[in-house]
Structures are given as structure tokens and as C-alpha cells.
Amino acid sequence: METLEQIRDRLLARFPAAKIELVVNPGPAAEHSLLLDAAFAPEIATFLHDDEVLRLDYCSNATGIDWPEKEIIDATTKAKTVQPGYLEAVYHLYSMSRKHGPVILRLRTANRSDQVTLPSFTPVWKSCDFQECEIYDLYGIVFAGHPDLRRLLMWHGFKDHPMRRDYVAPDDYEWEPTPHGSVLDRAKVHYPATAPQPETPKP
């Protein structure tokens, strides 16, 4: 299979106006990915699907990621910069006819609140159908061009997007004998601290 740089260069040659960026994966897996320009994404997807050399006819995995805004402290100047948050959709493409892959595509929204629309890949790969619904449900990315975008896992009328990092689950904490970690935090919210109580009699 071509390297990701070659694919990017070919894509840039084909879509000169598009902004395509190579996202380097620093880990040992070294599965690098292409950050696509949302405006050109459907055309690029169609191109990748139909291209004779690549023939990426199979989209294995589509998922969302939430990157909330975070402060980056420069190591040298100690200056704080706030990196804006965004939502990301990641697609893992393989080729069943050529038996190669993966080519990883990424799409990013402008922010996490109001500009959360991305083009849908469902018309190209039908396997994205339910997965994009799921991303919409859990992360709140709206996929333009999706034939039937609905809440897949949560019920209709549910307002939150629970997989986002800032989602707060409803407070239905129940007493646990050994709360720890996040459970302890929730316990603290639920039950105000008081003076030590006598041991509850064991039945």
C-alpha cells in the first residue's frame, strides 16, 4: 500500500483547494492519520473509495472523540495558551478487494458547542450508518447528509451527549461500603459530611 504521505500528496494534487494534514501518531503503533478538510471530505471519501490503487471499499470503524479545551503551558516561557476544544470523528478504512489498510481519516469540528456539523460518510460507506448515529448520540456531532440521523443508544428526548468529557451523570448515587475514586467524589456530593456516627448495627 502507498504510504500516507503519498496518499496525501495524491489527494492534494486531486483537490488543490483542500487542506489535508498528516496527523502523526507518536505511539509505538505508528498508525498515522489524515486530517481532512470538512468541506472536501465527501469528495475525498468518494475518491478514496473508487481509486483504482487504493480501493478503500470498507470502512471498518467510525468513532467520535471529545477533546475539551485545555491549557498548554509552554515549558520554556511558562506562558499559558488555551487550546480550543473540538470534537473529532475518526474513520478506519480498509480495502477488502486489495486487502490492505488501514487508512485513518479524521474530521474535526470547529468547536464543541454550536459548530458541530461534519459531512456524513454514510452515502459512501453504508457501514458508517449506525456508527455515525452513535457518534451523534454520544458526542453530539451532527452529520450532514446522513439519511436517518437519530439517537441510537439513548432514548429519543434525551438531552445530553453522555460520552463527552464534561457530561455529568444524574445523581442516583447509592450508598456503598467502600467508595473510592470517582465514587467517593459522588458520595461527597450526595451525602454531606457529619461528625462520626456510631457503627450501624449489623443485622
Binding site: 443508544l153 428526548g157 434525551f158 451523570a169 444524574p170 459530611a193 457529619t194
Partner: protein, 230 residues
């Protein structure tokens, strides 16, 4: 079920006691034998009633999650729930006597479980099978997981395990049989379905914007309020 603060679980009937179900009657086996010999018809009829119902428990064919597979396994050759007359898994709640809540009850599923429970005719019993049905189990911290089906419907037998082995389900079933046999027809210890003050149908929670509304049935589920120690 290590939680000591829960309301007394009813399967404490398992402990060896003079009667199979101490809460249900205050006469011992010996007393009942004595009464029977003196021809106490009601006791005998009561016993017949209990015997019939306890030997013909038809579960609702209704699987939720992992435990459902073990529930099916309990019906297979090795464990054979049929020996207790309980192999007729009825797919329609109208003909079922026992609801085995076998697995994680999610908030999306919870109203439907309550609806199924309401659709079952009395007398009906509920087994909470597995950690998830009892308390949410390993998925307790999930945003869509109901933390125990006893928040919404009354549970007769709790079977811990993740998932409980089929033998555990059989044990739960025999405990339920013992409980049914111990139920009285009248008096203060009468069976739940024979008492006017006990509801048969339970309110079905609505899908809210963030959670179920209400998240639990306050008439049924009274969680212990324990102040946290500093």
C-alpha cells in the same frame, strides 16, 4: 448483597428455621402436622394451593444480558430446570408466573421491564438474577444503568453472581418454591397478591431529558440515608 443497610432481603428464608419461611407463618411444621391430623381443612387446602403454585412456576421468556445465557443453560440437559416444572418459558407475560430479571437493566429498558411486570397476572414473583439486576453490578457507574431493579418493582429472590451459575438459579427457584409454599391465604402473613394494601401494578417511569422520571419508585425503594463519616 453485602450491603448491610438494605431492607431485609426476603431470601433469608434460606436459613434453617422451624418453618420454611418464618415471616409467613408462626406455626411450626410439627404444629401443622398436628393440625392436619386433627383435620384442619384450611391448612390442607392452603398447602395444596401452595404446592400447586410452587410446582408450576412458568418463567417469562425474557433475557436481558449475559445472565440470560445462563438462564437458558439452566434449561438445558445438564441443569434441567424442567425437573421443577419450570421449563415452560412463556413468551407472553400474560401466562408467566415468574419474571427472571436476567441481566443489566438499563434506563432505556427499565420502563419496559415495569410494563412487563404490570402485564403479568397475579400471583407473580420476581427473581433478580445477577449483580446487575440486584444493584447495577459492574456497570453500576454507567449513566444508562439502573442500579437495581428493586428500585422499580418488588423482588422476591436475589441471586448474586456475575453471572450466577445455573445451579444458583436452580437454588433461587427452590427458595422461591419454599417461599410460595410458606405463604398464607389470609391473615397478617397473607401472600402479597392476596393483600389489598399491596399494589399489583407499579408506576412506569417516563423517559426524561436527563434521567428516568422518577428514577425510582419512592413507595418501594427507600435507600438508607447514611451520613458520611468524616
Amino acid at each position: 448483597m453485602s450491603d448491610p443497610t438494605r431492607p431485609e432481603p426476603v431470601e433469608r428464608a434460606a436459613t434453617p428455621a422451624p418453618t420454611p419461611f418464618p415471616a409467613a407463618g408462626n406455626i411450626s411444621d410439627a404444629d401443622r402436622e398436628d393440625l392436619r391430623q386433627h383435620g384442619i381443612l384450611l391448612t390442607s387446602l392452603e398447602e395444596l394451593y401452595g404446592w400447586g403454585r410452587s410446582n408450576s412456576i412458568w418463567p417469562l421468556q425474557f433475557g436481558l444480558a449475559c445472565c440470560a445465557i445462563e438462564m437458558i443453560a439452566a434449561a438445558t440437559a445438564r441443569f434441567d430446570i424442567a425437573r421443577f416444572g419450570a421449563e415452560i418459558f412463556r413468551p407472553s407475560p400474560r401466562q408467566a408466573d415468574l419474571m427472571i430479571v436476567s441481566g443489566t437493566v438499563t434506563k432505556k429498558m427499565a420502563p419496559l421491564v415495569v410494563r412487563l411486570w404490570n402485564q403479568m397476572p397475579e400471583p407473580k414473583y420476581c427473581i433478580a438474577m445477577g449483580a446487575c439486576a440486584i444493584s447495577g453490578g459492574p456497570f453500576k457507574q454507567g449513566y444508562n444503568v439502573l442500579k437495581g431493579i428493586d428500585r422499580l418493582i418488588p423482588v422476591d429472590i436475589y441471586i448474586p453472581g456475575c453471572p450466577p451459575r445455573p445451579e444458583a438459579l436452580l437454588h433461587g427457584l427452590t427458595e422461591l418454591q419454599a417461599k410460595i409454599r410458606g405463604e398464607r391465604v389470609s391473615g397478617p402473613q397473607a401472600a402479597r397478591h392476596l393483600r389489598a394494601d399491596q399494589p399489583s401494578e407499579f408506576p412506569i417511569p417516563d423517559y426524561g431529558e436527563h434521567d428516568l422520571e422518577p428514577p425510582s419508585n419512592p413507595a418501594l425503594f427507600k435507600p438508607p440515608v447514611l451520613p458520611r463519616k468524616t
